[in-house]
């Protein structure tokens, strides 16, 4: 670990990107570098194999899996408010409340893993996209035991299956819960609510009575005015 103190984060990052490129180019790995972080996108088929390499190979030494999560990319880049058109109108005329989500879009579900190497003092993000119809990927529990609960969580919240997981049960939602709440087509207010029914003498589940509402519309302001380089030089946005 003493050698790390002499290297800068940039040097460590360079060494990592080189090693990753060398080792994973032929496995279909795609490397992205953004804001000082490295992301390796892998095909689903090599997921576990790559994990073993990243843990055991001298060049990587990722001893720890810090985080694993599911992502639902449905509706990525969609806004509720066409800002250009609405400038002359207003929120009530401009906004289309609720997003149109295509549950069958390809490349909808992904699993994202964050790895940490204590010996090299670097982080790496792995991502793999899954089939939309039946999202399944190899489990990483035998590579890093820490993946156990994280995979259970991704299964619970997104319905992503992990092949080879020893105990794939729901973890965060209620006993007997139906659906996968973190999918983008699952409403924020939920599907059911519960209350105590004095007549029946037990807790009953009913469809939710509350309406979902949008307080602030989802807006995408594109253009250069929001990039860090130009952010201070621009005038106020269309007000």
């Amino acid at each position: 670990m003493s050698e790390n103190e002499q290297t800068t984060p940039e040097q460590r990052l360079d060494a990592l990107t080189h090693a990753v490129q060398e080792r994973f180019a032929d496995k279909g790995g795609e490397l992205h570098q953004d804001r000082g972080e490295v992301t390796l996108e892998l095909p689903r088929e090599v997921w576990r194999e790559a994990a073993f390499i990243l843990r055991d190979d001298e060049a990587f030494g990722f001893e720890e899996l810090t985080d694993l999560c599911g992502v639902d990319y449905a509706g990525y880049g969609q806004a509720e408010w066409a800002t250009e058109a609405a400038s002359s109108g207003g929120f009530s005329r401009g906004a289309e409340r609720g997003l149109e989500i295509d549950p069958h879009q390809p490349r909808r579900f992904a699993v994202v893993v964050h790895l940490l190497s204590f010996s090299k003092n670097v982080r790496l993000r792995l991502r793999t996209f899954l089939d939309t119809g039946f999202p399944v990927v190899d489990s990483l529990v035998e590579v890093w035991n820490a993946a156990n609960w994280f995979e259970r969580e991704a299964f619970d919240l997104f319905g992503i299956m992990f092949d080879g997981h020893p105990d794939l049960r729901r973890i965060l939602t209620d006993y007997g819960f139906i659906g996968h709440p973190f999918r983008k087509d699952f409403p924020l207010v939920g599907e059911v609510e519960m209350r105590y029914d004095p007549e029946k003498g037990r807790v009953v589940y009913e469809p939710v009575a509350t309406q979902p509402r949008t307080l602030v519309p989802r807006v995408i302001r594109s253009g250069k005015s929001y990039t860090p380089e130009t952010i201070e030089k621009t005038e106020a946005p269309d007000a």
Binding site: P9, V71, G77, A146, N148, T173, V216, V219, I220, Y226
Partner: protein, 419 residues
Amino acid sequence: MPEIRNYTLNFGPQHPAAHGVLRLVLEMDGEVIQRADPHIGLLHRATEKLAESKPYNQSIGYMDRLDYVSMMCNEHAYVMAIEKLLGIEPPIRARYIRTMFDEITRILNHMMWLGTHALDVGAMTVFLYCFREREDLMDCYEAVSGARMHATYYRPGGVYRDLPDKMPEYEVKDSKWHSADEIARRNENRKGSLLDFIEDFTRRFPGYIDEYETLLTDNRIWKQRTVGIGAVSPERAMQLGFTGPMLRGSGVAWDLRKKQPYAAYDEVDFDIPVGVNGDSYDRYLVRVEELRQSNRIIKQCVDWLRANPGPVMIDDHKIAPPRRATMKNDMEALIHHFKLFTEGYCPPPGEVYAAVEAPKGEFGCYLISDGANKPFRLKLRAPGFPHLAAMDEMVKGHMLADVVAVIGTMDIVFGEIDR
């Protein structure tokens, strides 16, 4: 000979030693644990999904409510992720204030942990002592943010406001409970600014730590209950995703404050305590030493903050609100204010992971932006989550009473585990 079989014991979710809403299903052989199956999620509020429906700044308050005994550290990870997305840097004074309050938070958290852990194991006094000191630190929270716990003090680009020049005092009124003399005594160290009060605390605090140590470190009962309990080897600790004192207790010298410094940690002087045996007692020693080191960091921050006044928020009104006085005269400032609070800001598309060394371990925040004014996906990496996942491995073969000691040593808080 009677038939002998294992039986299943349900522990919690409403049990004072379950530290919140942990439900443990224990398979017992007599009094020995064969298997422990923690059931979590009883405090699940879907914070991450909720954040997807709100502009970035409106979710800062939810971060306080995750790990509700180390509030500002959670905020820190979240605002750091936003700052990384936007590509901005807070001013140096804000970084020192954050460092100081992170350490105040660490003391708050470790006090809570020490008090409840000792209480679970059977020492009442430590609990009362710890809560006495927590009061002073919560007063610091209140002085800067107005709230004793859920501060929402860190903002992208800095902190909400500068440290107050005047520490609030107790009021002298006709009280049935406190005499005027007593109130005057309680106000003695509150005569100056917040920094004076904190400095006074850093002077008193090492003595308090000695008090706890007198009660525990060489205490026969404490050692019987913690030495050799829940021992984890360094290899297993890494496999199981441990971070923070849980990892350092096992002998791995890893601390984000040293290894991947953020805020002003590379400019202050402190040491990282590391355990040897990886048992509950070593983790206790590590955390107690962290209290002393935090105190040291706070002292250095106080000195720096006294000497270096300056801005505590960036001067970019697309991200930080303009001053109220400016808004009265300046149309552009008014528009900025209006747009910021009705719509927020749109970070450029991309994804970032920002992590801080929270008192319990690595608290990480993974943010995906698609260019909108709300996060597309927020994932919070709670340190307690993998720790609790290791419950089965840590208590297997121990007695039922040790389960309570292991829950204590893990420093479990359900706000962050269930999210």
